[in-house]
């Protein structure tokens, strides 16, 4: 995928993120994640039913990478089982950390396959996934 296409996808998700805005609903598990060294600050809420991720919503203030990564993560994980989500998460982390990964399951998140070139952006790309990991590992 060429860089211009990747940037456009990121910006599109940044400007029109999926499922932004939180709900008052006790069936969701909520978590706040932020990066120590920067100002990204995101709250995620997740509804898991019978081992399936039924809904994810988020809110917060964060950079283009964090916000778009959250939106793309939500798109990828909706209606996946917790086990499937953990596999995707694992491959995504490998990609961001410049390790070998399975491209076939990374989907649209492939737009971040060169984030490692900007070390200060890696933590932004990982932020929402850090939050979701904490929630679904408890499931």
């Amino acid at each position: 995928m060429d860089n211009e296409v990747k940037r456009n996808i990121i910006i599109d998700h940044y400007h029109n993120p999926l499922n932004k805005g939180l709900l008052e609903d006790e069936n969701y598990t909520k978590i706040r994640v932020n990066n120590e060294s920067c100002i990204d600050n995101i709250v995620l809420m997740v509804k898991v039913e019978d081992g399936i991720i039924k809904d994810i919503r988020f809110d917060g203030e964060a950079c283009a990478i964090s916000t778009s990564a959250t939106s793309i993560m939500i798109k990828m994980l909706l209606n996946k089982s917790v086990e499937e989500a953990l596999i995707i998460l694992n491959e995504y982390e490998k990609m961001i950390n410049e390790q070998d990964y399975d491209e076939s399951i990374i989907g649209e998140a492939i737009v971040y396959n060169e984030v490692y070139k900007q070390p200060n952006r890696k933590k932004c790309a990982l932020l929402p996934w850090r939050g979701i990991k904490i929630i679904i590992e408890k499931e």
Partner: protein
């Protein structure tokens, strides 16, 4: 200013506009630290051998330099700390904790740094003193009228930054002190952003307590200063006890403390840091604090004038003096702007800058901050302005 050759960091091909966070060091500072570690590396206050005596002389000479630099009355009023945060915590926990009562009021503003706000919040929770806010005017400045309005008969302390780290306005500390002292109120000042940039004369300003950091004024990290009026410091309780601060202690658990300033400096001090800070003061005085202030403020005016002409830039503090500019590129998150500029080797800070209550006033949670110092130039600002003219900053930050 012809100072750039004195700073090894400036040989790197970067433009550094984050002096509010920390500053580069001139050779004279680096050399003084290396000299201590290379040629007379011994502990202080152990004067049984030559190099130790040499340490004592250098360490106390640094204290004398600080005393003169801020015009304290005696060196007993100068306590070395690890930095502003340490100084402010010591003042609040070591003095005010024992001199305030439940219901007493402390006045601060919503643009203060966390290192001033949080120890007061904590003390409020512990002893029931109450933190209240002085209103900021439309330019986010502190006016005497608003200070007067905020004072009640329960006000015991006014605690303010001399210059705030986001807005950069210089507070009228002298007038505030006068007003406060007429009412028996003490004035505690965070000098982290002022002592490096303007002449701070504690006597003239009537400051009761002051804290500042060495590394923001060309000195080493890990060294700072707590200044307090002698009669107040005499009543201050040491937060740390141990070596170097006691005269005698017995098996009957009696402790006699040393006199000031050593009573408040338990343990081996940051000797290299103090010596480096002394060298930084020598350097600042050689250049001249008035010249530095003039230079910093001229750079701010120059940058504001140029940036104001760009329609994609919003400046939050165009009308304040000082050397700090808080801005955003419209439609771009501050961190993305900072990362874009970093790609062009320009260092700026993005964030809330530890002044997290300020969003109540400016309606944005985060800004990009430019903070200038004596080695910055108009050419560097020109380069920044050129880069900010770009209409694709967001995309190019990715």
């Amino acid at each position: 200013m012809k100072v750039r050759d004195d700073f090894p960091m400036l040989r790197k091909k970067i433009i550094y506009f984050d002096n509010g966070a920390t500053t580069f060091k001139p050779h004279i500072v680096i050399d003084s630290v290396v000299d201590y570690y290379s040629n007379y590396s011994a502990n202080a206050h152990r004067g049984d051998y030559d190099i130790s005596l040499q340490v004592d002389d250098a360490f106390e000479a640094a204290r004398e330099k600080v005393k003169k630099f801020i015009n304290a009355k005696t060196t007993e009023e100068i306590i070395f700390t690890s930095g502003t945060t340490d100084s402010l915590n010591m003042i609040i926990k070591g003095y005010f904790k024992n001199h305030l009562n439940s219901g007493d009021e402390i006045l601060i503003t919503k643009s203060e740094h966390a290192s001033l706000v949080l120890p007061w919040f904590l003390l409020g929770n512990q002893i029931g003193c109450v933190v209240k806010y002085i209103d900021l005017d439309q330019d986010l400045k502190v006016t005497i009228e608003n200070v007067t309005k905020a004072i009640t008969n329960k006000t015991k302390v006014i605690a303010l930054s001399h210059i705030t780290n986001v807005i950069g306005d210089i507070r009228p500390i002298k007038e505030i002190s006068k007003l406060a002292h007429q009412r028996g109120i003490l004035v505690m000042v965070d000098g982290a952003q002022s002592v490096p940039h303007i002449k701070v004369d504690v006597e003239d300003l009537g400051i009761d307590f002051l804290g500042f950091s060495g590394h923001k004024m060309l000195g080493p990290t890990g060294i700072g200063v707590l200044y307090g009026k002698l009669e107040l410091l005499e009543k201050m309780k040491p937060q740390n006890v141990g070596g170097g601060m006691n005269d005698i202690f017995t098996s009957l658990k009696q402790i006699d403390y040393k006199p000031l300033p050593h009573r408040l400096e338990a343990g081996t001090p940051n000797i290299a840091g103090a010596i480096g800070l002394g060298a930084a003061i020598d350097y600042l005085e050689m250049v001249g604090m008035d010249n530095i202030s003039k230079h910093d403020q001229e750079l701010k005016r120059y940058a504001v004038t140029k940036l104001s002409k760009l329609d994609n830039i919003e400046i939050y503090n165009a009308n304040t003096g000082g050397s700090i500019i808080a801005f955003n590129v419209k439609g771009v998150f501050s961190q993305d702007t900072a990362i874009y500029l970093n790609k062009h080797n320009i260092c700026v800070r993005a964030g809330s800058h530890c002044a997290k209550m300020l969003s109540d006033n400016i309606n944005v949670n985060s800004t990009c901050r430019l903070s200038f110092y004596l080695y910055n130039t108009k050419e560097e600002i020109d380069r920044l302005v050129e880069l900010l003219k770009n209409k694709d900053i967001l995309k190019e930050s990715l």
